[in-house]
Symmetry: C2
Subunit: 326 residues, 2 copies
């Protein structure tokens, strides 16, 4: 039997968490990952080697590995000795493969084979782009890590150089998927950066698979403060030039009383479900009372098992409907 093909689109930790949950199901997972990150150690290595950002790629490879903890430790290891640099070993491994193959997507594929990574990890673009944002006041901020820092309303994000092209591997994954999942993750700095390389918008627009957006549970400082679920979806559709999302997975439980003060102090609130506007955009709402996991300290996140279960159910239903239609 042909396995269901699921493509995840995102970056940051959100994508890794979902990949880890889905790994347990009999599905073919591809993950299209943003490579515009310029913060932390990824920023440091990009200063020395002009390459797409390795950090999120590493995290997803780790999440799809059978020896997850071991690989995570190896990837994260930094030599103390000055002579060997302060680089994370995983970044060096990706840099080495990139230098040998001259193609970042091929480098990720080859390293994935060596490390016996299940699924396919695909950088959204093969060059080393910068993410830029135009704010409501028309000011331009360049650099993924700087965008949330100005704490202004974002109108649009784009890549520099302007003609950054999507990897053929990413386009192919989109074309062949039964289900395409956007998120969870930072809206403007993890998800949308994958949609804007040339060729991607058209591929997603034409793709036969069903498109699912996983809304964040909390709004995010410097990116989505005050945003409802429909505002999130609207940002995606605006960058896509059309309504593309078939299903939106969101939380409708009242969690106000259980979240930590950290959120209140930073104007971060639960993302509100505005079903009417979502319906107007053509997105069917899917929710589950077990979707949110709140730990003892009031930190909020998706329950990755529940999220994976929901996505697998959507995929199964859709596949059987399609077979029935034939």
């Amino acid at each position: 039997m042909k396995k269901i093909r699921i493509t995840l689109v995102g970056g940051g930790t959100g994508l890794s968490v979902l990949a880890r949950g889905l790994r347990k199901y009999p599905v073919d997972i591809s993950a299209i990952v943003s490579v515009a990150d310029d913060g932390g150690s990824t920023g440091i290595i990009r200063d020395q080697i002009d390459m797409p950002a390795p950090g999120d790629i590493r995290n997803v490879m780790t999440a799809l590995s059978d020896v997850e903890t071991k690989l995570e430790n190896l990837f994260a290891y930094r030599f103390k000795k000055e002579a060997l640099g302060g680089h994370a070993l995983g970044n060096l491994m990706l840099a080495a493969m990139y230098d040998m193959t001259g193609d970042f997507a091929v480098a990720v594929k080859e390293l994935s084979k060596i490390l016996n990574v299940k699924g396919t990890v695909i950088p959204s673009t093969n060059i080393s782009p910068k993410l830029a944002a135009r704010m409501e006041d028309n000011s331009i901020i360049v650099g993924e890590s700087y965008i949330p820092e100005v704490k202004q309303k974002i109108e649009e994000v784009y890549l520099i150089p302007n003609d950054t092209v999507a990897t053929p591997e990413a386009i192919e994954a989109i074309e062949k998927s039964d289900v395409i999942v956007f998120g969870p993750g930072s809206l403007y700095t993890s998800i949308i950066p994958n949609l804007i390389p040339e060729g991607m918008k058209e591929a997603i627009g034409k793709a036969p698979g069903i498109k699912v957006y996983v809304s964040n549970i909390m709004t995010q400082i410097g990116e989505t403060v005050g945003y409802s679920a429909a505002d999130h979806l609207d940002a995606i559709n605006t960058h896509m030039g059309q309504n593309v999302i078939d299903f939106i997975i969101l939380n409708e439980e009242d969690i106000k009383g259980r979240i930590s003060d950290y959120y209140n102090r930073n104007d971060m609130t639960a993302v509100e479900s505005d079903r009417d506007r979502l319906g107007e955009m053509g997105a069917t709402v899917i929710t589950d009372h077990r979707l949110v996991e709140i730990d003892g300290e009031g930190a909020v996140r998706h329950d990755n098992k529940v999220l994976a279960e929901i996505i697998y159910d959507i995929a199964l239903k859709e596949i059987s409907t399609l077979q029935y239609k034939k």
Copy 2:
């Protein structure tokens, strides 16, 4: 059915070549590898990080991998940029694991899991020893790579520090093996260094498995010039303090006319089969007219397929004899 357990003992390229040949058979392979090498890039990294020699370990891991060429390229990769050092990436990976685990044998085991290496690669000792040789004139040469350079007759080799202990993993492999294969490889700098860490001699002496020595085809400059097959075996037995080898695999074809001038110029001749003396030492001779591979330029080596086939046959026969005895 329990798989036949074969342990290879050696170093250098000989061990890798045999491992590659045996990988195709349904056997459990362990490889005990000498870590006293101090030449080339291995020497350079040992100058900066006090660790057992990673080079031969890497080669055997590669030979036991399903993605051999890819892993070989990644391991061998060196960054051109000064800031990232001139180190082979594989040495850095082993150094990182060694630093994280504090135990070289565990480091090799963990990295093998991450890289999905079949079989078990075991350093013969966990510390960073130097190999020393006492020559016929009682002079002492320290450093594996220097020993062959003096081109004198070697009386004995030993490790510094003197109390270097064998890894428990190596002892266990010896105890549990159905077949233990010594060589092919440099007699004094690849094979014997594995026999001298404390605990090894006793383990091999008591081991129930059959012991096979694969004789080199050509004598080796600075190590075994003028040696017959029995002289090779005698060197092993002398270091072991007893006769331990049950079978010796050697070449008896006349290859004189087919070898390159390089050998003649360096006093390297075909190793002579002196069956009477071998018999006195308790070793049964096994030979095959296809054992030697000579390329168009007259370079001589073992045919790794034939060698693996011979060893697998010995193992099968021995196992069935043992079952019959029970």
